[in-house]
């Protein structure tokens, strides 16, 4: 049970926007962890005052703020380091997009988590976490 509280020692400064890369890693980690989702998103047990996280916030980070799940392949150098990272996040985007195409974007977090699509989202995120971690970012965890 590790929260995203210390990103000071990340090794992601070889991309143009390292802070946004850390936000991306934090969001992918959250999507990869059913334990975090239940505890933080549903039970609202936060690691410290002022902390907040839910499914929508992670979608904002990955689509609206960074667009890393909308224009993944063009993010190398800005947020991402390698084609492996692009491939992993492309699969995560496919899982989320398929879920939104079927269910829309207005459901509660728990409804997405109980849907038959959620397993694909979590497994794609977990695979992406492994790739992102292999690229040297060890500090950002959900």
């Amino acid at each position: 049970m590790v929260e995203v509280v210390d990103m000071a020692h990340s090794m992601s400064d070889d991309v143009r926007f390292p802070e946004m890369r850390r936000e991306i890693i934090s969001a992918v980690n959250a999507l990869a962890s059913p334990e975090h989702q239940q505890r933080v998103w549903i039970d609202r047990e936060y690691p410290h005052p002022g902390y907040y996280d839910d499914f929508t916030l992670n979608i904002h980070i990955l689509y609206d703020d960074t667009d890393v799940l909308e224009n993944t392949s063009s993010c190398i150098g800005d947020y991402l380091r390698s084609q492996d990272e692009v491939d992993a996040l492309t699969k995560l985007a496919a899982a989320i997009d398929a879920m939104f195409a079927a269910l829309g974007t207005e459901l509660e977090d728990l409804d997405y988590m109980r849907s038959p699509f959620w397993g694909s989202v979590v497994s794609a995120a977990a695979a992406a976490v492994r790739v992102l971690a292999n690229e040297g970012d060890q500090s950002a965890r959900t």
Partner: protein
């Protein structure tokens, strides 16, 4: 046609153009993927028919790029025209898409995964996004003129009610997202319309300085009440 109708149509054209450019970026992304797959298939070998396919894909990418440039020029012209009329383009009412256009669109099927290529919307899902986006379009009242005209009308957030802009000169580093407030939220910053500001790759807090960590950790500081942000001297400085 009345002046009001002209302004409404201009506003609608801006929104449509912005969305067209957004979808074009997705199409370009799909072409990127197709090119990469072809190259992987080739494995460095030389096959004329594949080379021809690659050349065709590249031409398609160029055409999309030209189309986006043309749309951007058209948007600039519309913005200039609205200014000439003495109207802030952000105040221009938006004419919705004609019902017959929406009804012709395919709708994503539950359980149907992406088939065109991994990682992107299926064409059906992408089209559904256009229709849904048109219906979901929202912007707060009193949008300040500090948002550069060149940024266009903004596009709807992927989830939730809200609108976003990316600086066309630095789309990955700078931009603004505005979320509609939820009066029932437990968080004060979420009860009102609020703004996330990114400037050169850093999220800017309410005091105008970059936050020193994640949005999740500095949640309240990173979400600036719209009423406060709309008085800032520029879109990224108080």
């Amino acid at each position: 046609m009345s002046l009001g109708e002209v302004i409404a149509r201009a506003g609608s054209a801006l929104v449509g153009s912005e969305r067209a450019r957004h979808l074009s970026a997705e199409a370009a992304d799909a072409l990127d993927w197709a090119c990469a797959e072809l190259r992987r298939t080739l494995h460095g070998s030389s096959a004329p028919e594949f080379e021809e396919a690659l050349a065709s894909l590249t031409r398609a990418q160029d055409a999309i790029g030209e189309m986006c440039s043309t749309l951007a020029l058209a948007e600039t012209a519309i913005h200039a025209y609205l200014r000439h009329l003495g109207v802030s383009d952000t105040d221009a009412p938006v004419t919705t898409v004609a019902p017959e256009s929406r009804s012709a669109r395919a709708v994503g099927t539950p359980g149907a995964g992406p088939s065109r290529k991994p990682g992107r919307d299926t064409p059906a899902a992408a089209d559904q996004g256009v229709a849904a986006d048109t219906e979901r379009y929202w912007k707060p009242d009193g949008l300040p003129e500090t948002i550069p005209v060149e940024w266009g009308a903004g596009i709807s957030n992927r989830k939730g009610t809200g609108i976003r802009w990316h600086d066309p000169l630095n789309p990955r580093g700078s931009g603004v997202r505005i979320d509609k407030g939820d009066p029932d939220s437990a968080w004060p910053s979420q009860r009102v319309d609020h703004v996330i500001v990114r400037y050169n790759g850093k999220v800017i807090g309410r005091d105008g300085n970059p936050i020193e960590g994640s949005i999740k950790v500095y949640f309240e500081n990173a979400h600036i009440p719209f009423s406060e942000w709309s008085k800032w001297s520029t879109w990224h400085t108080p």
